[in-house]
């Protein structure tokens, strides 16, 4: 059920604006039919979440096509034109590099980069935000970017590193396959972070876009000798960005989002660019 400003919301009012079978339509239908109550202050908030979830799905597909290699942190690689590789295997935005250019470079020159599955998820989020925000807004909101799994996440994205119990798994959610009896030689296969895609598919970096059975098969093939417990999908937890805070941040003219600075005047008209 979707509730906006305290009242039940009929999706017919906006669903026609989205193509049939689109990510947004599927989301609207799933949320409206759920026993869970999805609350928003305004229709724009809901539309923003739909747009960002769609972009997360698209960014996951784009990153999968990018040629980004899989590597453990000890062997991670990045394009030094935009990023400095830190001593723990993370990537820090190079001084003077534009955040939007640096993120875009990962999607266009993926073969110059190698990292593991969690960092790839963070790259997906930045890639999606780059499509939802204008380049100016993106650069303003994320002046310093650090990519190293869920470590030192930007305050605007901290929730993506905090999986929570959820009633529904939605398109664009970040979920996890756990491999409880992983081979100790390959700790990187202790699990697989994934983005939920349409059609029962998932994007997991290093595995690609495939279904749950295939991901479980791959993880099971990397268990310790004598293992009896299968890898499994954690079906009641997911991590999601704080869509409302991001939407609010996109409207703020301050260097950092409104949650971090007080603006005594009414917020300006929305300047975000949402493709609907």
């Amino acid at each position: 059920m979707i509730v906006i400003a305290g009242s039940p919301f009929q999706i017919a009012g906006i669903s026609g604006g989205y193509p049939e079978n689109s990510v947004e339509r599927q989301l609207l239908e799933q949320m409206s039919q759920s026993a869970e109550v999805y609350r928003y202050d305004t229709v724009e908030q809901l539309e923003f979440e739909l747009a960002l979830r769609r972009e997360i799905v698209d960014a996951a597909k784009a990153l999968n096509r990018s040629g980004l290699e899989f590597a453990v942190f000890h062997k991670s690689e990045c394009n030094q034109e935009y990023w400095d590789r830190t001593s723990n295997g993370g990537f820090r935005l190079k001084s003077g590099a534009k955040p939007a250019d640096a993120i875009r470079d990962i999607f266009t020159n993926g073969r110059k980069y190698a990292t593991e599955c969690a960092t790839a998820m963070v790259i997906v989020y930045y890639g999606a935000l780059l499509e939802v925000f204008s380049e100016e807004t993106f650069n303003r909101l994320f002046p310093s970017i650090y990519l190293m799994n869920w470590h030192e996440l930007d305050p605007l994205l901290r929730e993506v590193g905090m999986p929570r119990r959820v009633a529904d798994i939605l398109l664009g959610d970040r979920c996890y396959f756990r491999n409880p009896e992983v081979d100790p030689k390959t700790p990187e296969l202790q699990g697989e972070n994934v983005i939920v895609l349409p059609g029962g598919l998932y994007y997991g970096h290093g595995i690609g876009i495939t279904d749950a059975d295939q991901i479980i098969r791959i993880l099971n093939a990397n268990r310790k000798e004598g293992a009896t417990q299968s890898a499994y999908f954690m079906e009641d937890t997911a991590a999601r960005p704080d869509f409302k805070r991001l939407e609010e941040a996109s409207r703020s003219r301050a260097a950092r989002p409104a949650v971090l600075s007080w603006d005594p005047f009414p917020p300006p008209l929305p300047r975000r660019r949402i493709r609907v």
């Binding site: 453990v72 942190f73 000890h74 062997k75 830190t86 001593s87 723990n88 295997g89 593991e116 599955c117 969690a118 799994n149 869920w150 470590h151 996440l153 901290r158 590193g161 905090m162 999986p163 996890y176 756990r178 409880p180 100790p184 030689k185 700790p187 990187e188 202790q190 699990g191 972070n193 310790k224 000798e225 991590a239």
Partner: protein
């Protein structure tokens, strides 16, 4: 490693420590040129350390003298190459669980973690060695040096996530005690990492920066109180930014039914009344569950008959009694 103890080291280690890696490589090449047998003897010296073998690996390949290594050093080199991904033979030297593998891994670990070479390949070898020693060979002796290495690397901004994962795979509260030692460290990075790994915010131990000893003692008290209900979650830095590596099973604490395995195991009540209470308990909010489980522990410690009576009451009454009890304490 202390060069004051250089008499304990092999000839090649002494050169490495005193004059550096390049001189060590040059010494091996020169010795090999003059006397192959002597070079072979230097490489098979039992006192040789893994850092020395590691920095000489390229030299040995170039001179084609790996065949002169003693079996332990040969196997260690093969294991290291396998982990680095440069072992072309396809043989899995780590899979068999053989005593020789254990011996080689233990040597890599013991001589290797004392003085890490700050290179990714080297650290990865140590990470995997620790993981296999802990998970395959159930070696608990390496826990203290593994904990030490985590904090040392963290101070230097090096990668720790796989080593942390390996340490928590033990599912043993000894790991928590080893980490807790660092809560009272004078090094702020140590204390901050210890608090993060122990999830101290959840324990309710006050974060008083000026009283590190008090914080440490407070954590140990918390651990003693909750150890019977503690379980390891399998969360990791791959899964979450602030993983809860272990947690208190509030249902078990509520029913005062501990479990020795430190794994999450379903709990069942012993009688019908307690069964109803448990069902109601499961429907409570996380905060209410915490309050009730803590109160349960408290009155159980004071009087078991009184605790039984309290547990038979409806959950609403239990909560009222718990709140009144805590208020009374204040």
């Amino acid at each position: 490693m202390n060069s004051g103890h250089s008499k304990d080291y092999s000839y090649l280690d002494r050169i490495r420590i005193q004059e550096g890696a390049d001189k060590c490589r040059a010494a091996l090449a020169e010795t090999f040129r003059r006397d192959t047998r002597h070079a072979a003897a230097l490489l098979s010296d039992d006192r040789l350390t893994f850092p020395c073998l590691y920095i000489l690996r390229g030299q040995m390949e170039g001179l084609r003298i790996q065949g002169y290594l003693n079996p332990r050093h040969m196997l260690a080199l093969q294991i290291a190459n396998q982990i680095r991904g440069s072992e072309a033979s396809g043989v899995d030297y780590l899979s068999s669980g053989r005593e020789a593998v254990y011996s080689a891994l233990k040597w890599i670990w013991e001589t290797g973690c004392a003085e890490e070479v700050a290179e990714d390949d080297y650290e990865q070898i140590l990470d995997v060695a620790a993981s296999v020693l802990i998970n395959t060979y159930r070696d608990r002796d390496i826990l203290p040096p593994a904990a030490e290495l985590i904090f040392k690397r963290n101070r230097n901004g090096r990668y720790i996530h796989d080593l942390v994962w390996a340490l928590f795979q033990v599912h043993d509260p000894r790991v928590l005690k080893l980490i807790a030692e660092r809560v009272r460290s004078s090094e702020p990075k140590d204390a901050a990492l210890a608090a993060e790994l122990l999830n101290m915010e959840e324990t309710g131990v006050p974060a008083d920066e000026g009283n590190k000893e008090g914080r440490y003692a407070g954590y140990l008290r918390w651990l003693e109180e909750n150890e019977p209900y503690l379980y390891f979650t399998q969360e990791s830095f791959q899964y979450a930014g602030r993983p809860a590596f272990c947690a208190v099973d509030l249902e078990r604490k509520y029913l005062q039914k501990g479990v020795p395995s430190y794994d999450k195991q379903p709990v069942s009540a012993t009688d019908e009344d307690a069964d109803e209470s448990l069902a109601a308990f499961k429907r409570l909010s996380a905060g209410e569950q915490k309050t009730l489980s803590e109160y349960s522990q408290k009155i159980h410690g004071k009087s078991v008959p009184a605790w039984r009576e309290w547990l038979r009451a409806p959950v609403g009454e239990q909560i009222r009694a718990a709140k009144a009890g805590w208020e009374g304490d204040k």
